[in-house]
Subunit: 241 residues, 2 copies
DNA sequence: CGAGGGTTTGAAGTGCATCAAATAGTGTGG
DNA sequence: CCACACTATTTGATGCACTTCAAACCCTCG
C-alpha cells in the first residue's frame, strides 16, 4: 500500500494512464511527510511538480497586498493540486500550505503533461475532473451568494455526514478557524452561527464533534436557499464520479 | 463571414478541429436570432446541443425554490456555453436566457464529444479553456470575498475598458440591473456604489456611458483588495489566450 | 400621451465584521 | 504532575455595508 505506484492506480483520475507513466512516477515521484503550517509553494512560484495528497489536509489560498487571504480550496487524501500550472506557463496560480499534518507526493509536471498530450483517455479523464471542479465552484459561488452563515455551515456538515461512516456523528476534520475561512466567514461568526444552527435544527455540539439529530430538519434549513437542482441532500450523487 | 464554418474557424478554441468536424458543423448547426428574454434552455433539460454566441449577450443562471437566482456567468460574442453537459450525463447544469438580442448557433453536442474523443489536440485546447475558466472563477470568488461593491464595479469597468477600443470611454453592455446581478449586488446597491465610485475616483457617468478620467486612480482604488498576483490592471494579459 | 419597466433616492432593518476581553484547550519545561 | 505560555474558541458590544421596502423619477416605446 505504501508504494507510490499503487497509490496512483487506485485513483479514478489515473485509471487510464500508461504503464510508462506509472513507472516514471514510481521512479521520480517523492513522498514526504509535512507538518501543519509547512508552506508547499507560493503563488507565482515556478511550477516543477504537481502534488497528490495521501493523508492530511492542504489549504490552497491567495493573499492580497494588505495580508488578508482568500481560500481557494481545502483538500485531503486522494486529491491533487498544482496540476493546473500546466496551463499557466508553469507558475502556480495559488499558494499551498499544510493545514493538518500531511503525507504528500511530489510528481514532476512534465510527466503529467506528456501523458495528457499522448494519451487521449487521460486527457478526457482530466477534462471530466475539470468539469466536476467547475461545477463545484459554481456551487460554491451560489452558496456564498444565497446562503447565510448558519446555512453554509449546515450544508458543510451535511456533506461531511455523507462522506463518513456514521451518517449522524461528524468530526470536524480541521480547526474551526479553518472551517470558518473555508466557508468565507470570521471565526467569531462561525461560533455564533453554529450556535444558531443548534437552536434551529437541534444538532448537538461537543468540541469538534457534531451530532445530527434530524437530517431532514437540517437539510430543510440549509438547502432552502440552494438552487432547486442541487439540494445539499443529493450532493453525493452529484459529486461522486 | 456569415457562414457558420468560418465563424468557428476564427475561434482559438476550435483552431485545431478536423475538417470533418467543420463540415459536420456546417451541415448540422443552426444559427438563430433570439430576442432579449428568450429562454434557451433550463437547468436539468436534456442537452442535445452546445451553443456559440455570434453577437448579443446570454445569461447563465440557476434558481432556488424560492425564486431568487444566482448568476453563473454572462457571455457574449465568441463564447460557447452548454458544452459541459458532455460531462454531466447530457443535462444542462444551469439555465440560459438571452440578455440582449443575440445571434446564437446551435451545434449537436455529439459532434463535439466525438471530436474531443478522437482529436487529442482539441481535447487539450478544451482543457486549456477549462483551466482558464477555473481561474476566472477563482478570481470571481476572491472578488466577492474581498472587494466591496464600489471596488467590484471599478474592477468590472477596468476589464470593459481593456476590451474596448477607446480605453477611457465605456459603454455598459447591458442593463444596470444585470450588471448588478453579475457583480452580486442589488440594483439599488449598484446605483449607490457607482455614485461612491464617482466621488472616489473621478469617473464621469452619463446614463450607460462611463468615462474614466484617471485609470491609475481607478485601479488603485479597485485593485487594492485583490490578491497581489492578479491586479485588475493586468487582467488582460491573464485572460487572453 | 400614457403605460411599463428601469433607475435613483430615502428610510429602516439585518447580518456579518471588528474590536475587546474572557474562557477553554494544548503543549512545554520544570 | 503542575504551572505557564500560547493558541483556539467563545462571548459581548459596537459599527458598517448591504439589503429591503417604499416612493419618486426617468426613459422609451406603442
Amino acid at each position: 500500500m505504501s508504494d507510490i505506484k499503487s497509490t496512483f492506480q487506485n485513483l479514478g483520475l489515473f485509471s487510464n494512464v500508461s504503464a510508462d507513466f506509472l513507472n516514471s512516477v514510481q521512479n521520480q515521484a517523492i513522498s514526504k511527510n509535512e507538518p501543519k503550517g509547512h508552506v508547499i509553494f507560493l503563488s507565482g512560484d515556478e511550477a516543477k511538480n504537481f502534488y497528490l495528497i495521501r493523508s492530511g489536509w492542504v489549504k490552497l489560498f491567495r493573499e492580497t497586498l494588505d495580508g488578508s487571504q482568500a481560500i481557494v480550496d481545502i483538500l485531503t487524501g486522494g486529491q491533487i493540486f498544482g496540476e493546473t500550472a500546466i496551463f499557466e506557463d508553469f507558475a502556480y496560480p495559488y499558494s499551498a500550505e499544510v493545514a493538518e499534518d500531511a503525507e504528500i507526493v511530489l510528481v514532476p509536471l512534465s510527466l503529467l503533461k506528456s501523458e495528457i498530450e499522448n494519451n487521449n483517455k487521460v486527457a478526457l479523464d482530466m477534462l471530466g475532473a475539470m468539469a466536476k471542479y467547475r461545477k463545484h465552484q459554481d456551487q460554491e459561488l451560489e452558496h456564498r451568494a444565497l446562503q447565510n452563515a448558519p446555512q453554509r455551515i449546515g450544508c458543510f456538515l451535511l456533506r461531511l455526514a455523507q462522506s463518513g461512516d456514521d451518517q449522524s456523528v461528524i468530526h470536524l476534520p480541521y480547526d474551526k478557524m479553518l472551517v470558518a475561512s473555508r466557508l468565507g466567514m470570521q471565526p467569531e461568526t462561525f461560533s455564533r452561527a453554529l450556535k444558531k444552527l443548534k437552536e434551529k435544527t437541534g444538532i448537538a455540539i461537543n468540541g469538534s464533534t457534531v451530532q445530527i439529530q434530524d437530517i431532514d430538519e437540517l437539510s430543510a434549513f440549509s438547502c432552502s436557499a440552494c438552487s432547486s437542482m442541487f439540494p445539499c441532500k443529493d450532493l453525493k450523487a452529484q459529486k461522486d464520479t
